[in-house]
Amino acid sequence: MENQADFDRLVSPLRKTTWRFYAVLAPLAAVVALGLYAYYVQFTTGLGVTGMNNYVSWGLYISDFVFFIGVSHAGTLISAILRVSGAEWRKPITRMAESITVIAISVGALFPLIDLGGPTRLLNLVEFGRIQSPILWDFISIATYLTGSLLYLYLPLVPDLAAIREQQVGGPIRRKLYGFLAMKWRSSPSQKRRLKRGIAIMAVLIIPIAISVHTVVSWIFGMTLRVGWHSTIFGPYFVVGAILSGIATIILAMAVFRRAYHLERWIKPLHFRNLGLMMLALELILIYFTLSEYLTAAYGSESADTEWLNSLAFGPYAYMFWGMVAGGFLAPVFILALTRVKSIAWLVVAAVCVNVGMWFERLLIVVPAMATPQMPVSWGTYTPTWVEWSITAGAIAGFALLYAVFSKLFPLVSIWEVSEEAPAPEAVPEPVGEEVAQ
């Protein structure tokens, strides 16, 4: 370690924990406990405690599933696409992004299980799984994605773990854990060569895997004959939205941890600006996809399409739909354009808008299509119950909780990668007018 002061700053969250951390943790844990209790109620009584019914038979859980798997695309973009394209500035944020990926998949993959009517018969999927069903495609691709992402998070951790072990960070149990995970890393040239090779292979592999995951998620809907779902652009439409919400989430994580752990030296306005520009670009692509999806249905005006669109634009979903368009699509574009992506505080506002908007976008894909009548006169209605809201809130809190715990166990910035960065700091010009978050 060339610079002991840098090292100490980056591992200081691992060394000492103040009351403030527990003050954040406690309410999160309480919300998670509420979610667990809600699931207990659902498990014992049945899915009847939710607002779902025979018309709208998928609701919040499936939207949450799509949303969280979308958020997990953060890591793929930052640490894989940027690594493959050789963007050096990514180095300080790769680990934050990849840990979002692993945690978001873990939380998101729970939702199909929460949504099951017969969770005790889950193993039938293994025994009798039919590869012809898109649900099995999903099962396979998400399992592959989780495995790949865990490996891809773990590999670049190895040199840092070895350094942490050497510097005697943490108590005896944690030291054992670090020692075990560091796998006898000694920074020998052959070890370094193999590590770089492994990371490079994973970076290439994880991109098609991530794209396949959200494509397959979209195909669960796209493969049915339902109005509003049976669309050929669903694959790319879902993937673009996924990367967008992934970027928004990494921006929020950067802003929070930069301030909480004093990472200003590594996480710079440059990172916010570059990610803000990407978020703007993807938001525009998403608007384009949304427009082509809805305009094609509206102009063709098949009667079922018209009914579905009317329910979105003027019917029971109108407030949500136009709220999403204004708050989730247009507001971030205007904020990013007017501030010219220079203000971190405004960027955080835009990222919150994007994520809330994306959550509603997922909900508005799942629910109105199910509620649209398929037989004469049978509009479905759906109002989520406290059980569904509690489990949703529990999942969001659980995501934050796992992230906070991760930040206390492992350094959030890849220490060996940023210390390699030393030459040519002036390669990219720093934007002017830094504003500190909040």
Binding site: G48, N54, G117, E127, I131
Partner: protein, 269 residues
């Protein structure tokens, strides 16, 4: 004439390419594409039939069909009642539902909708565990011991023919004493999909479905497609194919390609 291409990182000699070499590489490339294409075609021919579930294809001499004469239906709902009593179906999830349809002229007619037992059933295709399947007579059945309750079949069915046991169903003692089977699915439990199963238990005994027997108008006919005859609850038998042809028989949302086993004769205006 050798030409040097300067690649960014690689050694310059790697980029040389003369005409002969170019033609050779192009030939190899075209050959490889042809071999790959033929190989893929061969594999597709082998694999696609292999992964099609044999349970999806009926193979018995019986092939049940239902014909509902909308002219006769007055929307009394006795078919629903007979079905629910015979099969202990919960009140709020009827297996045969009677819709009232308003047509283009402003007139209304009644449309009883059992499960259409589609020959190309979307619910059977999407089931991840093969819990819903086609029996040899062509009837779509559900095995509740296998169903995991993902409700993909509810989402996939374009006719809302399926319902879900959202909570534990209640049964009278005689139903609880009965042994569950996919053909006689009671008593069953929460967290599984339910639907009409063409009274598979009756059909095997040569009896009509409960809804056909229960219809006071004799609007519901049932029979074997291979015998080309359908019979209603009043014992009236019609020739199946010629009745469809002569009286404008149709199927609901035929354009979706699900190939339903339930046929309708149009309502009289």
């Amino acid at each position: 004439m050798p030409q040097e291409e300067k690649e960014g990182d690689g050694p310059a000699t790697k980029g040389t390419l003369d005409r002969r070499k170019f033609l050779k590489m192009a030939g190899i490339g075209a050959g490889a594409v042809a071999v790959l294409a033929l190989g893929s075609k061969f594999l597709a021919d082998k694999i696609v039939p292999a992964i099609q579930d044999p349970r999806l294809r009926g193979s018995s001499v019986d092939s049940w069909v239902m014909l509902i004469d909308l002219k006769k239906c007055d929307g009394c709902g006795k078919c629903t009642l007979a079905c629910q009593q015979a099969h202990y179906v919960p009140f709020n999830q009827p297996w045969i539902q009677v819709y009232t349809v308003t047509d283009d002229t402003g007139g209304t007619y009644h449309l009883p909708r059992p499960c259409f037992n589609c020959r190309n059933a979307p619910c059977v295709h999407v089931c991840p565990v093969g819990a819903t399947y086609v029996d040899p007579d062509g009837t779509v059945l559900i095995d509740h011991t296998r169903c995991i309750g993902c409700r993909y079949c509810l989402a996939a069915c374009p006719y809302n023919a399926r319902s879900f046991n959202w909570t534990e169903p209640t049964y009278p003692p005689e139903a609880l004493a009965h042994a569950y089977s996919p053909e006689e699915p009671w008593p069953t439990h929460k967290g599984v999909a339910m639907k009409c199963m063409f009274c598979a238990h009756n059909a095997r005994k040569g009896q009509l479905p409960e809804c056909a027997t229960g219809c006071p108008m004799g609007a519901i006919y049932f029979g074997n497609e291979n015998e080309d005859a359908v019979t209603n609850g009043m014992g009236e038998t019609l020739p199946f194919r010629s009745t469809l042809q002569n009286q404008g028989g149709f199927r609901w949302k035929e354009e979706l390609g699900t190939d339903p086993r339930v046929y309708y004769l149009p309502a009289r205006r």
